[in-house]
């Protein structure tokens, strides 16, 4: 089997953003469970946080292909 070591490194690197996305949604679910009427306000914030944390994984995959 052959393959690129970059992709292996990228796989390891996704642990960080993966944890971050998990933490963000954990906080969001917690918030909604405590105060269900706040869902409308929390949802865009949660999705924004998710998108920003995910950007790290995205930059990672771009670099994995480029390097």
């Amino acid at each position: 089997m052959d393959g690129s070591l970059n992709m292996l490194g990228y796989g390891l690197a996704t642990v960080g953003p993966g944890l971050a996305v998990g933490l963000i949604f954990a906080a969001y679910i917690n918030g909604v469970a405590r105060q269900p009427e706040a869902q409308g306000r929390l949802q865009p914030i949660a999705i924004l946080g998710f998108a920003l944390a995910e950007a790290l994984a995205i930059i990672g995959i771009a670099l994995a292909f480029v390097l």
Partner: protein
């Protein structure tokens, strides 16, 4: 278990999918005969490719839908008008008004609604049988969209605050004085002006690219395991097709989410550019 299964599979005949699978030759040509040209040291195809046709098709589809939905406007909406109004209202109220604020948002609603449905339809082309190619899995398409958003939010910011005032708003954090500014101003400029459009484009592109690559991998891998191996490994091929369906469902979610995130971030950048100095 997987390690044992791996040793039993001969991998010589299987070519895994790569980024090259996304570089489709122009319509009417095959890979060898297509005319090419050199651009920035890279060889590129010369002609109309499938994603280009999809862009035009998506515009026709969206225009037709909203035209039909708004043709016979009535106080009590019919089914089509109701769907059209819900779709428009989702972007207008849920995205534009909530982030930009009720004073300024109406100016940007046409752009944001068009942007949202343009990205949504082009993403869903990745799952529609017969097309099955998300347009934004070609990076150039995503870069162009992000450049458009970049121009829009910088332009409205500069018109409201003037060039100097806008740059000050974007690069000088409030409440910071002295030497720290020397460090922070270039950093903020880098992050707010230069990196924003790149991450905006790469987020859309990489999600579509990675998702579609995953689908190709499970489809090709399943086909190979099912038809070209013997013993117990065809079972893994069936599993691979089950995974294919699961990832397809996940992709449906991701496609809608990425359209939402792109428009949400665009409207947030516009809101940031229009914000009053603090």
């Amino acid at each position: 278990m997987s390690a044992i299964a791996m040793t039993a599979i001969p991998t010589e005949g299987f070519t895994p999918p790569g980024p090259g699978d996304f570089n489709l030759p122009p319509i009417g040509h095959s890979e060898g005969t297509a005319p090419t040209f050199e651009f920035l040291g890279q060889t590129m195809y010369w002609g109309v490719t499938k994603p280009m046709v999809q862009l035009a098709l998506s515009v026709v589809l969206i225009f037709t839908f909203f035209y039909l939905a708004s043709r016979h406007r009535a106080m009590v909406p019919g089914k089509l008008q109701y769907v059209g109004e819900t779709a428009y209202g989702f972007v207008r109220n849920g995205l534009a008004r909530d982030t930009i604020g009720s004073h300024d948002f109406m100016r940007f609603v046409p752009y944001l609604v068009a942007l949202f449905f343009f990205i949504l339809v082009n993403n869903y082309f990745g799952l529609i049988p017969g097309i099955q190619f998300p347009t934004f899995s070609r990076a150039g398409m995503a870069y162009a969209l992000a450049a458009l958003s970049w121009v829009v939010y910088n332009y409205v910011g500069m018109r409201k605050h003037g060039v100097g005032g806008y740059l000050k708003l974007q690069t000088v954090p409030s409440g910071v004085r002295g030497v720290v500014l020397l460090l922070l101003v270039p950093l903020e400029f880098f992050s707010n002006i230069l990196v924003r459009p790149v991450t905006l484009a790469l987020r859309l592109f990489a999600n579509m690219f990675a998702g579609h690559m995953l689908l190709i991998l499970f489809a090709l891998g399943g086909e190979y395991l099912l038809l070209h191996t013997t013993g117990l490994t065809p079972v893994a091929g069936v599993l691979s097709f089950v995974m294919f369906m699961g990832v397809s469902v996940l992709e449906m979610l991701v496609m809608a989410l990425q359209a939402y995130v792109f428009v949400l971030l665009t409207s947030m950048y516009i809101a940031g550019a229009l914000a009053d100095e603090h």
